[in-house]
Amino acid sequence: MGCNIVTDLSSVPRLRPAAVVINQAWCKKCGICIAFCNKGVLAFGEGNRVEVAQPENCVGCGLCENFCPDYAINLEVADQ
Amino acid sequence: MSSEPRLVQGNEACAEGAIYAGMRFYAGYPITPSTEIAEILAKRLPQVGGKFIQMEDEIASMAAVVGASLTGVKSMTATSGPGFSLKQENIGYACMAEIPCVVVNVQRLGPSTGVATAPAQGDVMQARWGTHGDHPIIVLTPSSVKETFELTVRAFNLAEKFRVPVILLMDEVVGHMREKVILPEPGELPVYDRLKPNCSREDYYPYRADWDKAPPMAFFGEGYRYHVTGLFHDESGFATEKPEVIDLQLRRLHNKIYRHLDEIITYHSEQTEDAELVVISYGGTARAVSRAVKLARQEGRKVGIFRPQTLWPFPEEAVAELAGAGKKLLVAEMNYGQLLLEVQRVAAGRCAVTGCLQTNGELTQPETILNKIREVYEHAPGN
């Protein structure tokens, strides 16, 4: 509910997220997330599946989620 | 509105009839001979809490009417031939998305710019077939100022009930004529309001209805959050290309009209019982026919008059009955023979069908019709 949010989450520097989750059912393998991740976290795998190849490198910048045209990436923030 | 008799113009009766029916949104673009409807409504609508907008063209007018209707407001536009041609695409949209509205076409002489101020009835077939693709449509046509008021109210009732655009097909004669009329008091004529869903948002399927019915219609802004499109769609309103769904939905669009002809079709029939010849006519021409038939009767000829107020769907059954009874049929209209084609089809060879057609920009004179009556009465083959 946006109405309860005072500042936009995406504008607050995040904690290191627990996980970058790819929704394979929605992903169309366009490669945008891979191209824009500065940390080389994501990569094409078998059959062009997008895979979280280097999860440990992720800094939670959110670029991948932001640019994914198919809402197929979620940054799941760890419970605090 | 008082019960005093007043001198009222046909176009004014249309405007006032619309307000009576509850119309509170008008969008239009001026064109002779319909312009008075817009001019009167520009003045009247703010007075009754309604909205008037002059759009940039007829296409936009038709679009705005559909948009407004979706918010739950009874909506209308009025035009003449050239504008009616332009509205066709969005009339088709209203058919497909099942948006109630009334489109008035005060016919003038065409094709093209033609003669803006001359009477004609050349848009009868266009009113039925003007937009692409198969679509059902209701077309009403009045013959007098009083009937213009009444049929405008009916047009709204049918539009709202069946969720369709209804065409009120007037002509210059009726639109510009002034007659003494007593306009109905509120409550005197039935006014039908749109059926709304009474279910919850979750249970609402905007295009779910019995095979021959129009579904209830939620208003935009009331929480149903549904989708409307001119693409073929399933009951949920979302696009589909499934043949069986397309078939079902298109069939329902037709059935909701063609299975309710009794509610939709009205006509006026006079002295047809004993008639050997029946003149079929409508709109302004029917006024000349009335006179001609009186004169023919005075001459001892058994002539009757059949005047459809509903042009489409065509009163097929009633006309088939006349044809079946072997009466000669004479179709009088101000065009090259449009309704004539439908009468020929329905008559199916069972009786002689002749046209009394005039397309010179003048209202047919009673003498012209009388002469034709005499000719057909004497010489057309009986059965």
Binding site: S11, C30 | E222
Partner: protein, 271 residues
Amino acid sequence: MLPEIEQYFRLEKLPHMWCPGCGNGIVLHCLVKAIDKLCLDQDRTVMVSGIGCAARASGYLDFDTLHTTHGRALAFATGVKFAKPELNVFVLTGDGDCTAIGGNHFIHAARRNINLTTIVFNNNIYGMTGGQYSPMTPNACRATTSPYGNLERPFNLAELAIAAGATFVGRATTYHTKQLTDLIIEGYKNNGFSLIEVVTHCPTSFGRHNKMGSPADMLKWQRDHGVTAMRYENLSPEERSDKFIVGVLHRCEAPEYTAEYQKLQEKFRGR
């Protein structure tokens, strides 16, 4: 997608029908983020769109949504808004939809200053029909109907809107998501006609004909060619030649149409 904005989507309709890498999904993302920040009542917000790839956007959003005829979204939207001014009305339209067949409705909605927030998905092409040039296709670009390169000049849509009377005009790209979200917010807040032009990328029908590379390459092109007004000011004419400004381009005050009419009604009601 942020979980808090899922509510604005018709999730069961996803994944959407757009091609892999198509920018339209990013625009929609920004739109719902803006709506979320604006705390709009979902039940009183309407999305109106025309016909085209971009115009399919309405189907994915959980509001009252109206997918109209090609080019006419603004005219339908005018009906919705004028009939019920208390609704928030957004118009989602492609460059062809808005500026080719729909050009007249565009300039008239702007002239009337009717309170519609109009988002033009400018991918410089007719995407839906397979890549014919649009009035926004740059000169010399290739499209299926300009096999020898486009002879026409594109509109400067922002200038056209300003000249026609729009009271808020902004431009962003699918790369400039933060700015886009903010522009939509600002456009919504303007009480009058607002245009937000989004330079988006169509890898299938524009990119391919014009050797623009992958979807990511097209996003990078946007990054490199869209600049803020301030930066633009400081560029040399040569540097400017292939750049465009991202941000608020115009803002002014004028009476809003439906409000003016309401005053009229109040004055003459019952007369």
